[in-house]
């Protein structure tokens, strides 16, 4: 088990409700800068696995570590800022694109972070194919695909080292899905982010060889790189 892992799971088990174990005694390491694809049948626990890694859920047994530090020794907001979780369905709040992008900086735990100015926000939007979207546009008026990109960009502004993508393309059309998938690959390749992604579309990165984590029958298996 790699000592330089960014996330390490040690003998973790997870029960969604009392008596319904999704997986048990799982140990695996996530290496920094890696691209991981999580696969498995519906209801096998793929989303729960991702939610455990940013502590939206708690394992019933075992320990998770972030860069060698047990999760329990970090505050949840501190961990979640480092291990960003992007939900399946994009959720934007009332207000403009800019309001949404700056929303995380209103939280007490993020107030020490430098507040991005308009030119920085513009630059990030442009980088992710949102050149046509003005900062003052109402976020709820964006298409679902644009909202999903906005959600990803909003999280990226917190400079996470790991990005967990929970079927981010499930509600998107092919064109938007491709943009989001390319974004994920580019973040891994060019920004050195660790990406752990659930994808039903049979997505495969163009240039990176992903590591497959298979969730099946209560077990998590890391398959060799294809």
């Amino acid at each position: 088990m790699g000592n330089n892992s960014v996330i390490r799971c040690e003998n973790i088990s997870f029960q969604y409700t009392e008596g319904s174990t999704l997986f048990s005694d799982v140990s695996l390491s996530i290496n920094p800068g890696g691209f991981y694809l999580v696969r498995g049948p519906s209801g096998s626990g793929k989303s729960s696995f991702l939610r455990l890694m940013n502590r939206l859920e708690e394992p019933s047994q075992g320990t998770l570590y972030f860069k060698g530090i047990p999760f329990s020794e970090m505050t949840a907001p501190e961990l979640r800022r480092q291990v960003l979780y992007i939900q399946q369905t994009p959720i934007v709040t009332d207000g403009s694109v800019k309001d949404n992008l700056l929303m995380p900086f209103t939280f007490k735990n993020n107030r020490t972070l430098p507040l991005p100015d308009d030119s920085h926000l513009r630059g990030v939007l442009d980088e992710f194919s949102m050149e046509m979207i003005p900062l003052d546009k109402q976020a709820r008026n964006l298409s679902v695909g644009q909202q999903q990109r906005l959600c990803l960009i909003r999280g990226l502004l917190l400079s996470p080292s790991v990005i967990l993508l929970d079927e981010p393309t499930s509600s998107l059309d092919d064109e938007s899905s491709l943009i989001v998938e390319n974004m994920a690959e580019s973040l891994c390749l060019n920004a050195g982010k660790t990406i752990i992604m659930i994808s039903h579309r049979g997505f495969r990165p163009h240039t990176i060889k992903p590591t497959i984590i298979e969730v099946k029958d209560g077990r998590l298996t890391v398959l060799p790189q294809e």
């Binding site: 940013n54 939206l56 708690e58 949840a76 907001p77 979640r80 979780y85 709040t93 909003r154």
Partner: protein, 262 residues
């Protein structure tokens, strides 16, 4: 002008039942299936209010501070139990903290009104403390139940939005701030609406009672103003404290929403 209170005799009381009979007939004719509830409700009204009358007579006669506080605490216990029963979702056990917070906040409001505003001596004089305290409990109970129900419902239905904020570094307070505000508003709006309509749309029960028992309407309105403001204050205080307590129980130390979806 001397005013004699007209007592209502048993036969006159029985005549009132004619209204229940009319309601019962309407229920049968239109198949409302409310006859049984009407009957039970009528019997309970008679039994509960007669018991209350005898209890109040006893408490007034004893004139004992601890007895007055005991009756007040019992009424709050019953109100907290009613709230717990009315909130459908039982994932969060909030009976005890709600009871304690209602006890403290309602006692504070009732004490301030009797001791400072009305200036009753002693402050626990049962003829003042129990009816005023009872109004505080009765009104705030509905507001608290509405607010808790709304908060728990919203926390479950807007789980995605809360978790989105948690994922972006918010703590549970920040993530649920908007829902807390909405729950507070839902609880408080009926009391504020009452303040808007009082005297124009309806004459409140307490004021009616005072006028019927011979009080000068100008004295009655002053009591009513105190009561309206007291009720709004106790509703705000009670709703705020209980909603905060319930919200805290909906999240754990790891800032996870512990309420599971239906």
């Amino acid at each position: 002008m001397e005013h004699h209170i007209i007592d209502i005799g048993p036969y006159q009381l029985a005549i009132c039942l004619i209204f229940v009979v009319i309601s019962g007939i309407a229920s049968i004719v239109y198949s409302l299936k409310l006859e049984k509830d009407l009957l039970i409700g009528t019997v309970r009204t008679f039994v509960q209010l007669f018991i209350l009358g005898y209890v109040l007579k006893f408490v007034f006669a004893m004139s004992n501070m601890f007895l007055v506080i005991g009756v007040f605490a019992f009424m709050i216990f019953f109100a907290a139990w009613t709230i717990y029963g009315r909130v459908k979702d039982k994932q969060i056990h909030f009976f005890f903290p709600v009871f304690v917070s209602m006890l403290l906040s309602f006692f504070l409001v009732a004490f301030l009104v009797t001791a400072v505003v009305v200036n009753v001596k002693p402050w626990w004089e049962p003829r003042y403390f129990i009816p005023l305290g009872g109004m505080v409990i009765g009104n705030s109970m509905n507001a608290i139940a509405i607010a808790i129900e709304r908060l728990i419902g919203d926390l479950k239905s807007k789980r995605g939005e809360i978790e989105m904020k948690l994922c972006l570094g918010a703590d549970s307070r920040e993530a649920s701030k908007l829902l807390l505000q909405k729950a507070m508003q839902a609880g408080m709006i009926p009391s504020i609406n009452s303040m808007m309509a009082v005297g124009m749309v309806f004459i409140p029960g307490m004021m009616t009672g005072q006028i019927l028992s011979g009080s000068d309407p100008l004295i009655a309105i002053k009591y009513q103003i105190v009561v309206m403001i007291m009720l709004t204050g106790s509703t705000a205080l009670g709703t705020l404290i209980t909603v905060l307590l319930v919200r805290n129980r909906c999240f754990n130390k790891a800032e996870q929403l512990v309420l599971k979806p239906d």
